[in-house]
Subunit: 331 residues, 2 copies
């Protein structure tokens, strides 16, 4: 089995690569299959990972056909397409968002189409492709009426991959990811960056600002769950999906209050006291449109794993990422 | 008021141009406004129309930024974006469909964005962007899960225009047109070409083949209704639409039997007897996925006009288009 991760240098791309390296195999509907080769592709060539199979690292633009042809060579079985310009960045730079999120996904289709056999493509779409806001609990057939350019570009990417699947050019599963917490490192350009920050920064002993109130609810998941979903999507029998290649995975609806409670459970009331409420209308305007919950019935039936409880999510960050984040930030 | 019609040489583009020429004004929410200039743009420069205002005709590719900049000059108030590769053609040539229907619409966004003030854009999306088939009667908030590349490209175009509207780059209304009948001239590359052919060919005294059974239902409208909707969309107060710029207009659900009844009403049983049932699984596979009906509640509330009865639609073709079609085809 030959695998490519586009966006392989990012937060989730690196976790996925480490997990593939640790497993050495991919569980598919037809049984376990040995991984023979992994390509990590990102704007700059990602750092290699230790693995029991050869790992290639390549730098390039996902919207560049020649770069993609190198990243997705003949014989590729699975492409994880995670390369993206995230929400606030795509809102700030319209052309950049279109280039990477729309033309990039089109280039992925063309690269896959050039292969002798259609590969599985796992695409990371987003909760940001929906509207509905705080009151919403969206059913599986909810339409996507995005309220931001990132979400619109993700919904277009889904349509492209859905149609390319129907045409037999590739075999796509689009996972509309919740906001993934706790993101290590520094705050990033996602409008939802604060959701990780109000947990991560206090765990580092630093203050954090929360732009929305305690009652504000968000649809979240852990990086562990996200990677489980990627692997499940890569190996599942896609005949079960029928024509509809979009999946709303079983994340968790959590209020800011619940997140801060989990923080206090793990790190004590002092950690929680480091979070101040500082309303930010610009951020609230974006995330306030995203639906706070989904039924996720179909994904559960299709075998997408449940999310662990919030305190475990916070604990996993402490165990796996806190030291590295501290080092990275010179703390 | 300065107006551009992209696809101005096509079936609906020419009717719209003639109607604008006849009216000389556009009715808007703020009152009647005089038309000062009209640009007709198509692959080849369309034939001019007689009008009380200057008419420019331009040839070019809608996906070419320079051609579009010429077609949509500063001061343009309304762009009708009708340029498209239709259903069976986009299915047969994937790259051509993407080029015209996706990249073309992106070029329209970029051209509008370059104007000093955001123009109204009326976009012709399609019933083909939905699924559901014969049993469906789709509500206004039905999601678009296209079953053909043309429909997928139209749905992507809607997402682009929806987001560009939200960003203030233009002010779009996307009309998901039913199958427009009776189309004059020759059969074309739309999968729904037969719906017009089973009326037009017998009216010309020619035999016609119907690829689906008599009970097969279709969502149809007349060219007169389509042009009314275009004009309404061009002049309406779009604040009434809110964020959702897609409209399912009040077409009519008609079975093949009802269409043939209207034919017999207008041209007698001999005309009807010219239609033979010759099943075509390839055509049935495409149109069989399109929803047979919509509630169209929202469009009615927004003032989109009702459809005339079927026999009137057939009679209008006889009165307005039969002679020209006869001449065009040398009959
Ligand atoms: N993390 C979340 O909360 C979340 C939520 C919903 C969806 N997603 C989606 O999941 C995917 C992974 O998210 P992440 O958190 O790891 O994001 P990330 O920003 O850490 O990773 C994305 C990677 O894409 C790369 N990239 C950007 N432009 C590129 C280009 N032109 N060519 C090649 N690579 C390019 C970036 O360098 C980055 O390494 C993304 O598609 C994202 O939109 C993430
Ligand atoms: N007629 C219908 O039944 C129907 C139904 C649903 C939607 N629509 C949509 O309504 C619009 C008008 O339909 P129509 O029946 O008049 O179609 P048409 O094919 O008669 O007109 C479309 C025009 O677009 C032009 N065109 C194609 N590629 C182009 C390019 N690269 N650059 C510039 N122009 C290009 C064609 O030359 C043609 O004149 C289209 O967008 C169509 O998809 C039509």
């Amino acid at each position: 089995m030959r695998i490519t991760i586009l966006g392989g240098g990012g937060f989730l791309g690196r976790r996925l690569a480490r997990r593939l390296a640790a497993d050495g195999v991919l569980r598919t509907a037809g049984g376990e299959r040995r991984i023979e080769a992994l390509t990590l592709f990102d704007l700059a060539a990602p750092a290699p990972v230790e693995a029991p199979f050869p790992v290639r690292t390549l730098g390039g633009d996902v919207a560049d056909p020649a770069a993609l042809a190198a990243a997705i060579p003949p014989g590729t079985d699975v492409v994880f397409h995670l390369a993206a310009v995230v929400s606030a960045a795509a809102e700030a730079d319209y052309d950049l968002g279109l280039h990477v999120n729309l033309q990039g996904t089109l280039a992925v289709v063309q690269a896959c189409r050039a292969l002798p056999a259609p590969p599985r493509v796992v695409f990371t779409s987003s909760v940001a492709s929906f509207d509905g806001g705080q009151e919403a609990r969206l059913p599986d057939d909810a339409r996507q009426l995005p309220t931001n350019s990132y979400g619109a570009q993700k919904a277009m990417g889904e349509l492209l991959l859905h149609d390319a699947t129907r045409r037999g050019l590739l075999d796509a599963v689009s996972i509309r990811l919740p906001t993934v917490i706790v993101r290590p490192g520094r705050p990033n350009k996602a409008a939802s960056s604060f959701v990780s920050a109000i947990l991560r920064e206090p765990l580092l002993g630093l203050p954090a600002e929360c732009p929305v109130g305690e009652a504000f609810a968000l649809w979240v998941c852990s990086p562990r769950a996200a990677v489980e979903w990627f692997l499940h999507a890569a190996g599942m029998d896609t005949a079960l999906l029928g024509a509809d290649r979009g999946v709303n995975p079983p994340g968790r609806s959590a209020t800011v209050a619940k997140l801060l409670e989990a923080l206090a459970d793990v790190a004590g009331p002092e950690a929680r006291a480091l979070v101040r409420h500082v309303p930010d209308p610009a951020v609230a305007a974006i995330v306030g449109e995203w639906p706070a919950a989904f039924t996720a019935t179909r994904a559960r039936k299709l075998g997408f794993a449940e999310q662990e409880p919030l305190d475990e999510v916070v604990r996993a960050f402490v165990d796996e990422d806190l030291a590295a984040t501290r080092a990275e930030r010179g703390l």
